[in-house]
């Protein structure tokens, strides 16, 4: 069963029409797999891609990876059938491209609910994520982030977004700084997750690492990726250090203990701690566990 707030450090795009990619992408260990029916698939191939994806999702055991389907935009004739294909095949989530308003999400939500009913899928079990690809989308972030109970997060899609701003991707990140900041703020205010855009230069792994470090520092939950080579970099950046894990363990333990004693504020390793630190410490431990380093540290 998929969890709305599951760990999503790495969300890897796969062309839904390429059997070789669909066969066993889970071996690379991405947290989420995004099967793309939109940009990666030519207009004349939409049916064929849906057919391939449907059978892949039915046949292949994608193990622990989340199965997200990127549908075509709601301004195209394809998106409703994309949703039916995804829901009938048992996807976990739908990624909505080019989201600009609350209404966009509600439209998709209604169609997903319909498909769930038709397919006999538990109502409400298919989650949504919204890709923000325009200035309008950024401006409407507040209503978008609060639009649906199904919505687990928003993701920046920088290619179209920078075109809308009349610029391009510079590599410095300056053109994305406003959107990134607003996205993380609105996502957190709505209690949902937030994901950064893809990094397309596969030759520049150092530039990629720096960008992952930047968005990690900003508070993003993860990053969209386009190649399995990028996964270890993201996971390494999102893996807490031994010191961070030890501190988080102490914080959780101390808060649990002090709460029962009626103490609200205290110090751990000389730092002032209160209940506000609890969720953060829990997140650190969850990340450590996902990265497979928690047990080792405990055994030290």
């Amino acid at each position: 069963m998929n969890h709305k707030n599951r760990l999503r450090r790495s969300m890897m795009f796969l062309n839904a029409q390429k059997p070789n990619l669909l066969k066993d992408p889970y071996i690379y260990g991405a947290d989420s797999l995004i099967f793309d029916l939109e940009d990666a698939v030519a207009l004349g191939e939409k049916d064929a891609a849906r057919f391939t994806l449907f059978h892949a999702l039915k046949k292949v055991d994608y193990q622990n990876a989340e199965k997200v389907v990127r549908i075509n935009g709601i301004d195209t004739p394809f998106w409703k059938e994309d949703i039916r294909c995804a829901v009938f095949a048992g996807c976990d989530s739908i990624r909505i491209p080019k989201t600009e308003s609350k209404e966009d999400i509600l439209l998709v939500e209604a169609e997903v609910a319909k498909a769930e009913q038709e397919a006999g899928v538990t109502p409400g079990s298919t989650f949504l994520m919204a890709a923000i690809e325009s200035a309008k989308g950024v401006v409407h972030l507040e209503e978008i982030c609060h639009a649906s109970e199904r919505l687990f997060g928003v993701a920046l899609s920088a290619g179209d977004y920078t075109k809308d701003l009349h610029t391009g991707i510079s590599g410095s990140g300056v053109e994305l700084s406003g959107a990134r900041q607003l996205m993380i703020i609105h996502a957190r205010a709505a209690g949902i997750q937030c994901f950064d855009t893809v990094y397309t230069n596969l030759e520049d792994m150092e530039g990629f690492r720096k960008e992952v470090e930047l968005i990690h520092t900003m508070g993003f939950d993860g990053k969209s990726i386009i190649n399995p080579r990028q996964i270890p970099v993201v996971h390494a950046v999102y893996t807490p250090s031994a010191e961070e894990i030890t501190f988080a363990e102490k914080v959780v333990q101390e808060i649990d203990e002090k709460r029962s004693q009626g103490i609200g504020v205290f110090t751990v390793d000389g730092k002032m701690i209160d209940i506000a630190f609890y969720d953060g410490a829990k997140r650190t431990l969850a990340l450590a566990k996902a990265a497979g380093v928690l047990e080792e540290v405990q055994n030290d």
Partner: protein
């Protein structure tokens, strides 16, 4: 008769070849034999030149005849122009029933096929038969039974007299008029002439073909004038672009890198990974990426490699340059940087195939290997490997040094994707056994690592570092879950080739393939 790897070798084949069935990789340990004697000719005085201009004239001088055995090396790989020049001359002169004893055959010899069909060539002994020759043999077009043997096995066959070479043809990148050959110094440099050393020693006649004549003495010589009868100047001996490529780009495929990382992690966890450990790896893909991943472990733990052996490419040469490897023992060069490195680095040594892998000599490099990393086309639950037969039942690969290094190394690691194309690599039974499972210790795949139950100490070492260890049966089950169980290939009764073990016994037989179109390749 059933052999030690469970293969039924027909009595008729044993009778025709005079061979025994394989009885285990150490069965011939301490075996006593007499080395073959070779007919030789004294050349007292002479004119100081062995230079010839006409190939047919040379063939006449070498007493070329029906039924003779001739030999070639494959250092020029797919760029080779020597074998076909010689074979065209033999064909034009009308000789029949020729045995070709080559260190390997590839697409460069595709034009041999009509000569198989018209009876010019009736027997082939080689490490591999790729391209159209493999296809032709699989279709039963060779009159005799082809013998496929390892590099070390070829040396053994020649030394014991099992294979007697009448004329050895050696393509030499540079040569003087008296027969001193070097693998460098010309336009078609191949770096080393390892495979030809045994031919030069044991052939009745030795003919050098070169496109680059240099002044005497062409020293230090890889093949000495003391063994050479004639030197033939020809326009071309090889296509340089197909002999040695530029340096391959570093591997970026994540799947291959994951396998290489697992492999290096495993190596570093074994007791053999210590100062002075010895190592051989294959070329390209996951195997060469393993060398790079391992070098990180070596730097981390401040451990240096004693020697690296086998076919060379840039990654291993880089390790030598960095001082992470004490020396390289080179049997073949796959790219230009490795040839350059051989020329310039004093610790990059050329070795003969006998020194490399001969099972019947008094000491070969393979026996000093701690680790060897090998590829495979198929491997089975008994850890047997198949490196010659395609999933369509066609001969397409070469044993090369696979069985030799596997038998010699303390830890033999086979690295392969679990599924290749849509065919499971790990399966119940390999189509053809080329390397016995008793010599294969570990199989590294993209889905996990299987360790031969005969090596419990390696299993313990791997568990200590949390590698994704699975049983070989588990790997097979995963492969079958993805692809289904492969249908058994269909063959006719006729045996078209034998897979010779390094000791000369029969490991397996290859039968004539049924018509390609009739083979049901679907899964059960």
């Amino acid at each position: 008769m059933i052999n030690a790897v469970g293969r039924d070798i027909p009595d008729a084949v044993l009778a025709e070849t005079g061979k025994t069935v394989f009885q285990g990789s150490r069965h011939f340990d301490d075996y006593t034999y007499e080395k073959a004697a070779v007919k030789a000719r004294a050349r007292i005085g002479g004119e100081g030149s062995k230079l010839e201009k006409d190939l047919q004239e040379v063939l006449r001088k070498c007493n070329a005849h029906d039924g003779m055995t001739i030999s070639f090396h494959h250092h020029f790989r797919e760029g080779d122009l020597v074998a076909m020049q010689v074979m065209q001359a033999i064909h034009e002169m009308g000789f029949k029933n020729i045995t070709i004893c080559a260190s390997s055959l590839s697409k460069a010899q595709d034009e041999l096929v009509p000569m198989l069909e018209d009876g010019t060539v009736t027997h082939i002994e080689s490490s591999g038969v790729r391209g159209k020759i493999g296809e032709a043999i699989s279709e039963g077009k060779l009159q005799g039974i082809a013998i496929l043997r390892s590099h070390g096995g070829r040396v053994r066959a020649i030394e014991t007299g099992e294979t007697k070479i009448d004329i050895a043809f050696i393509g030499a990148p540079s040569c003087d008029e008296y027969g001193n050959c070097r693998a460098v110094g010309g336009n078609s440099n191949c770096g080393v002439l390892s495979y030809s050393a045994i031919d030069a020693e044991y052939a009745e006649y030795v003919v050098v073909l070169t496109d680059c004549l240099v002044p005497f003495p062409n020293f230090p010589a890889d093949i000495s004038m003391t063994d050479v009868d004639y030197v033939l100047k020809v326009d071309a001996i090889g296509d340089p672009e197909k002999i040695a490529t530029g340096a391959a780009r570093p591997v970026t495929d994540r799947r291959k890198l994951m396998m290489a990382e697992s492999c290096a992690e495993f190596i570093a966890a074994t007791p053999y990974f210590k100062e002075g450990f010895t190592f051989q790896t294959g070329i390209g893909g996951a195997a060469s990426a393993t060398a790079l991943c391992l070098s990180e472990k070596m730097r981390e733990k401040n451990i240096r490699m004693g020697f690296g052996a086998g076919g060379m490419s840039k990654p291993m040469c880089d390790l030598l340059d960095e001082g992470l490897v004490s020396c390289l023992l080179d049997t073949q060069d796959f790219d230009l940087p490795s040839i350059e490195n051989l020329i310039s680095h004093p610790k990059h040594f050329s070795i003969s195939t006998k020194e490399y892998a001969d099972p019947f000599c008094k000491g070969a490099v393979v026996n000093k290997l701690d680790f060897v990393i090998l590829g495979t086309l198929e491997a089975d639950v008994h850890f047997h490997c198949n490196v010659v037969m395609s999933s369509e039942g066609e001969l397409m690969g070469a044993q090369g040094g696979h069985p030799d290094t596997a038998a010699g190394a303390k830890c033999t690691i086979v690295i392969t994707p679990l599924v290749q194309g849509r065919i499971p690599t790990i399966r119940n039974e390999v189509t053809t056994v080329t390397t016995p499972g008793e010599t294969v210790d570990v199989i590294v795949t993209d889905y996990g690592i299987a360790i031969n139950p005969q090596r419990p100490e390696l299993l313990e070492a791997a568990k200590a570092v949390k590698l994704p260890i699975k049983s070989i049966e588990e790997l097979r089950d995963i492969a079958y879950k993805i692809c289904g169980e492969p249908a058994t290939l269909e063959f006719e009764d006729k045996v078209v080739a034998i897979i010779e073990a390094r000791d000369g016994s029969i490991m397996d037989v290859v039968r004539k393939r049924k018509d390609k179109n009739l083979i049901a390749l679907s899964t059960k």
